[in-house]
Symmetry: C2
Subunit: 438 residues, 2 copies
């Protein structure tokens, strides 16, 4: 008999079927016992009345993997609370079961997976990630993450972007200088890549439009709720742009595609977490940095936006434009990386932008320099040597179109979307200052 | 005026349009000059008769980025050879052009991108990757790579697999022991992950079926045509299998999906390279390891298949089964990793398999152990301590279903498919013993 999933039971009323999964919970009442089995799709309630089977169920531990053969019936009583609130369709249950363990009795994890919320502290959850992630709220966040990435790719594939895979180990510590991980590369010093920035720009020379989904590494020495030492970066770069506004258009479509990916592919997970997915406006409101400072009530000579300013801007965007999203354009050049293209009209300001989501910075992007001489001048102006950037900067001698792009931190996106207070809640196996296992 | 791509010209005959791209080649004849412009989609022939424009074109260097406005006409003469053999639709060209450079004159790369094949040595190509990759044969291989990955994901998404992202830095040097890159993790020793093997197994406990596309790192001390120090691994793992044959079924579907992804999404690239895509048989022939030795004419006590044996098996599969693919199952346990599940009937042999493609090993996979005690026994039998594997092995105490999976090396797959002699030909920026730039 072919095993079926919990979500397929409702179409099998009256038939004998086989399910399999983990013992999620047992409820041992006087006259009847309930065995709740969890599979990838949801939960199934198995009704046990036969004394021999009951004895067997009593001996099972939570998380033991079992196979159950039984008859699908429309539900007579009320479902167990965890089933009623789960994504699995309620209204059916299995009766007259035979139960067969597929492995030895499991050691239950140090928290109850059947409770609506995981009550263990985050460090305990992270220490026991292989089991903590089995909790429906934790796995739902990861399903949303996968769906968002699928939406990201679908949007860009439809617009002729080509997916690339670039080196994660580089020969010189560039871009931000600090916060790099050093390693030994066959006896030579090397560094983990902090972003695919240079490579995605070079690949614009090949495909015009590229994207990459991959790990990036920051030796972030601070313990914060929004930084990880490894995170998944969703990188986009496109050529033949007029300026940063063409990049912002693609970002708007990409965000809309990610959210529609979540709605379409992870509807169950959205329901488990009780989320209200935001709408991406047809045109995301945009304010220039100088205007943003005024809105936030910040002094006109502030070089950057502080978190409090971002929150104020988020409230303003919601109030004035009914939007969860807000572009801030024209950040001062001094606060952007050297490859940023200046605003030709106001060279102290850049063609770089941030996208705020509910008052928090979610995406950074902009137009980049595309002329070799501009790179030399930009490095010289910052007192940086050319040599560590040679392989990158040289490529601009060989013809590069005006271009720009952006990068979205996947874990940060999912954390904001799900309301997680800490990016570690939406990361399977986070890496940070303290955590290198599991 | 909105820029259009070379492939959109045929629908615009008689109209004035704007194209943009790189100066691919100029052909300066007596009465007429041809400017061949390359964009992401292909090539466009621009016919220049006006003396002033001709003077401008004469001054342009190859790879300069230009914008051309002109009138689309059905082709009068014959197309330039590079256009005729390109993927761009021939039969139309641009006349009466105005040409506007989008940047300074480019420095041409040290090889001719307009010739049918790149004649520079591979090291020269790799040193100048940002321009070498612009050659239609090099970019075609990368388009095929992207299409194969898209097919991989589409196949698995349709079968309820969930995409995961796992740590690329790990706390202990496990799995194969040798060939790991060591790094400094906030003062602690750490290692680049050689595969997501352990993590994908753990995630079977969460989602039952998972996949990951990501970089893996091998400190491969040998200079070979088929090894890279970083490559892209396509990893799959699934639970609730009866044995390795369920895994082989998913692998067959995945391969078919990858090839149909290539055919459907990279048809132009397939044509540029003149490839014959292989058929994946409805059932891929499979032989047991002991039988494979006989077919290959190898001694019965050989513990593994040598390259010559694989070639002989590839020929046999083609001759006897008309198949480019062949499964070899039941490899001796001694030659497989400790997490491999033995064949219950013949415990000296494993439930592990290789897939040969045209006589070369392409995929390794199998059923894994799923009981905690079996892991302890397997490590003890190999004289390995449990401690470095603790976070991994412990998870098996908490209920894991029978499971298995496989991993496909993306660059190796694309190299075999395109007939590239060296995996570096199908890798944008390869990393190896000697190469850490660009």
């Amino acid at each position: 008999m072919q095993r079926i999933l919990s979500t397929q039971l409702h179409a099998q009323v009256g038939r004998t079927v086989k399910i399999a999964g983990w013992v999620h919970r047992r409820r041992l009442l006087k006259s009847v016992a309930f065995l709740i089995v969890r599979d990838a799709a949801g939960l199934t309630q198995v009704v046990v009345t036969d004394p021999a089977v009951r004895a067997q169920v009593e001996a099972l531990t939570e998380e033991t993997v079992v196979e159950v053969v039984g008859t699908v019936v429309a539900q007579r009583g009320s479902a167990a609370p965890e089933v009623a609130t789960a994504t699995a369709p309620v209204g059916v249950e299995l009766t007259d079961p035979t139960v067969r363990p597929l492995g030895p009795p499991a050691v239950p994890p140090p928290f109850d997976l059947y409770r609506p919320a995981l009550t263990a502290t985050l460090p305990t959850q992270l220490d026991h990630a292989p089991t903590a992630l089995r909790h429906p709220t934790r796995s739902a966040a990861l399903r949303i993450s996968a769906a968002a990435v699928a939406g990201f790719r679908a949007t860009l594939d439809a617009r002729d972007f080509v997916e690339i895979h670039t080196p994660k180990v580089v020969g010189s510590s560039t871009e931000s200088g600090a916060n790099v991980f050093a390693l030994d590369w066959f006896g030579r010093p090397a560094y983990l890549a902090q972003s695919p920035q240079f490579y995605k720009q070079l690949m614009v020379g090949v495909f015009e439009r590229v994207y990459e989904v991959g790990p990036v590494f920051r030796a972030e020495p601070h313990d914060t709720v929004r930084h990880l030492a490894q995170y998944t970066s969703l990188d986009v770069e496109l050529g033949f742009v007029a300026d940063h506004r063409d990049v912002m258009d693609v970002l708007r479509e990409t965000l809309a595609g990610m959210l529609s990916g979540v709605a379409g592919r992870a509807g169950g997970a959205v329901a488990v977490l009780g989320l209200d997915l935001p709408e991406v406006p047809a045109e995301i409101p945009a304010v220039h940095f100088t205007e943003a400072l005024k809105i936030a009530g910040a002094p006109a000579d502030e070089p950057d936006l502080a978190p409090a300013h971002e929150r104020a801007l988020g409230e303003w965007a919601r109030r004035e434009h009914g939007s969860d999203f807000l572009f801030v354009t024209g950040y001062p050049m001094a606060k952007r990386p050297f490859y940023t293209h200046p605003d030709p009209q106001r060279p102290g300001y850049s063609n770089g932008f941030d996208l705020l989501f509910r008052g928090l910075e979610l995406v950074t992007g902009g137009q980049r320099l595309h002329r070799y001489d501009d790179y030399l001048a930009a490095l010289a102006a910052r007192g940086e040597p050319v040599e560590p950037y040679a392989g990158y900067v040289d490529a601009f001698r060989h013809g590069m179109p005006p271009h720009g792009g952006f990068a979205i931190g996947l874990e940060r996106f999912v954390a904001r979307l799900t309301g997680a207070a800490n990016v570690r809640e939406v990361t399977a196996f986070p890496r940070d200052l303290h955590r290198l296992t599991p």
